[in-house]
């Protein structure tokens, strides 16, 4: 029943969501009385991979083919499928990212396996069943799903597990090759454009998110959101009308029809808290709401609230945040 974790890299480092998947995988392995191996692909260094030891991974298979630095589902699936066969893995763990979900879905078909995405719990394995909890209805509910095929594939929701790193433990990295050929890269991207996030983390990986709504009146006021985010080391986001009006780019829009986020802290400024907005943010651990309307529905979902004008309140927050010793 060995466990295999798929690890994504970016700019030489392991993505945080992949560290979470590694930690999850090692926990599953422990409960099944086996070990967790990782298979790493992409833009990551061997040095970074040894750090997977801190998440309970002892061995990493690394296909360092240069072409794999770009994500192409068909090629990635080939590499992982080979690792699955080599390790005899029956449980595969991925991060629920665009890449993780894509390769997970294709592998489910290839290996005739059961797949659950958006998973928020470790599996319950009593009585021969293998049940995981996943977030459904855009975060408005959870479902327990029994994965009954022989191979079980799990894509773990970001930020749903606290990493308890065992610093000092290192993983051994083994070179591994699935002998991908040019034919596996038929759908290779022509061009990859990484967004300039001004040095801050991408929204999906962020632990803190500062978000603005129509209450900010116009794009010229966005420095309030940006400055607070900068002071807190946070990513920025917005409500749907804000991106529909082109005040902010679409990839910042969170909610039921936007990005789903589950950071440790979500700060909503001038956002009413419509049900479609809440759907994408309500699994955040702590929610702060700043709104001048005391009746705004968002206060019902909040942990901390300030009734006040954003133009007066936010500058005070920026100042206090800047004064924090990091």
């Amino acid at each position: 029943m060995s466990v295999l974790v798929f690890v994504e890299g970016l700019h030489g480092e392991i993505k945080k969501s992949s560290l979470e998947a590694a930690f999850y995988g090692s926990q599953v392995a422990q409960s099944l009385g086996t070990t967790a191996t990782a298979v790493a692909i992409g833009d990551v260094t061997e040095d970074a991979l040894t750090k997977l030891g801190a998440q309970g991974i002892s061995k990493v298979l690394f296909d360092a083919d240069e072409r794999l630095k770009q994500f192409v589902a068909e090629a990635y699936v080939k590499v992982i499928a080979k690792a699955v066969a080599q390790e005899g893995a029956k449980v595969l763990v991925f991060a629920h990212s665009n890449i993780g979900a894509a390769v997970g879905s294709r592998l489910a078909v290839r290996l005739n396996g059961s797949l659950a995405t958006n998973v928020t719990s470790l599996p319950k394995t009593d009585g021969g069943s293998f049940v995981v909890t996943r977030s459904v209805f855009s975060g408005k509910a959870f479902a327990d799903v029994n994965l009954y095929a022989e191979v079980k594939i799990i894509a773990v929701q970001k930020n749903s597990f606290e990493l308890t790193s065992q610093e000092g433990n290192t993983a051994s990295v083994e070179r591994f090759s699935a002998e991908v050929s040019d034919a596996d890269f038929g759908a290779a991207p022509k061009e990859t454009v990484l967004l300039d996030t001004g040095g801050s983390v991408p929204l999906q990986e962020a632990e803190i998110v500062v978000s603005g709504g129509r209450g900010l009146k116009g794009p010229e006021n966005w420095h309030l959101v940006e400055d607070l985010a900068k002071a807190l080391g946070a990513a920025t986001a917005c409500s749907k009308p804000v991106s529909d009006m082109d005040w902010r780019p679409h990839h910042e829009h969170v909610g039921q029809t936007g990005i789903t986020v589950s950071p440790n802290l979500y700060i909503a400024i001038g956002i009413s808290g419509a049900i479609q907005h809440l759907a994408g943010v309500n699994s955040s651990k702590v929610i702060v709401v700043i709104n001048k309307d005391a009746e705004a529905p968002f206060f019902k979902a909040a942990d901390y609230g300030i009734v006040g004008d954003a133009f007066e309140v936010v500058p005070k927050l920026i100042e206090a945040a800047k004064a924090l010793d990091k």
Partner: protein, 246 residues
């Protein structure tokens, strides 16, 4: 160009979500069903491409008869005909198998759908269909144009950026905004939709690989702690010392 658009029938975005029978089933009582909002982007873009290049748009739903009003709505928006695979959509694997079975001999140039459904949020079906048919899947895409008669150019979201991909037909893609402005049906569309063909077919095998055993709702929050606007800076110290998130 022959395009297949897959739509799912989901609870309206404002629905309160409840469960019945020991939390084993979704409670449809009083819930309005709509075309999955993300599928509307796929549908509208398909119709735009048809209008520009000719061809046809077929709508496909894997679901029971109660989905037909929304299938008719898709026809009213501008699809030419529809297929309903008469089955309860058990899980993503099952649904993907039905779509692949319909697509296999249909000669479609592209298969479009939304990035995920707002009920089960699987984010799986497009890639599964791509694998089942042995063709590329580009997802989630927010731009789709034709380069020439046999190649499409798509822009897709990656974490922290975007990728531009050119693929040969046929392929599968999933859609999200801002691919296009979803359309609403007009009177003429609604009238003509009534006479457009809606074919009902039985499922083509394909088993599910997972089973939903129970549902639950998130725990209610403990209530909000209000901070005086004049004292706003206190929030930052509470977030550090009490909530421990800074």
């Amino acid at each position: 160009m022959k395009i297949l658009v897959c739509i799912s029938n989901v609870p309206d975005t404002t629905s309160k979500i409840n469960f019945t029978g020991d939390n084993k089933e979704f409670d449809k009582n009083g819930v309005q069903f709509v075309i999955n909002p993300w599928d509307e982007y796929a549908l509208t873009r398909a119709i735009e491409l048809k209008e520009a290049k000719g061809g046809s748009v077929t709508v496909l739903n894997v679901g029971e008869a109660d989905a037909e009003p929304n299938i008719r709505k898709a026809l009213a928006i501008g699809a030419d005909d529809a297929i309903r695979v008469n089955a309860h959509p058990k899980d993503a694997f099952f649904v993907a198998a039905q779509i692949a079975a319909v697509a296999k001999d249909g000669g479609y140039d592209m298969i479009l759908m939304g990035r995920e459904s707002i009920d089960y949020n699987g984010f799986q079906v497009h890639n599964m269909v791509g694998e089942m048919l042995g063709i590329p899947s580009v997802t989630p895409a927010f731009k789709l144009d034709m380069v020439d008669d046999s190649t499409a150019r798509l822009e897709k979201e990656i974490e922290g950026g975007k990728e531009v991909v050119e693929v040969k037909l046929p392929f599968v893609a999933s859609a999200q905004q801002p691919m296009c402005e979803p359309r609403i049906p007009n009177m003429r569309g609604i009238m003509t939709a009534r006479t457009k063909p809606l074919k009902v077919v039985e499922p083509a095998g394909g088993e599910a690989k997972s089973e939903y055993v129970s549902f639950s709702k998130p725990e209610k929050k403990g209530g909000v702690r209000m901070i005086d606007a004049d004292n706003a800076a206190e929030l930052i110290s509470l977030l550090r010392n009490e909530a421990k998130v800074l």
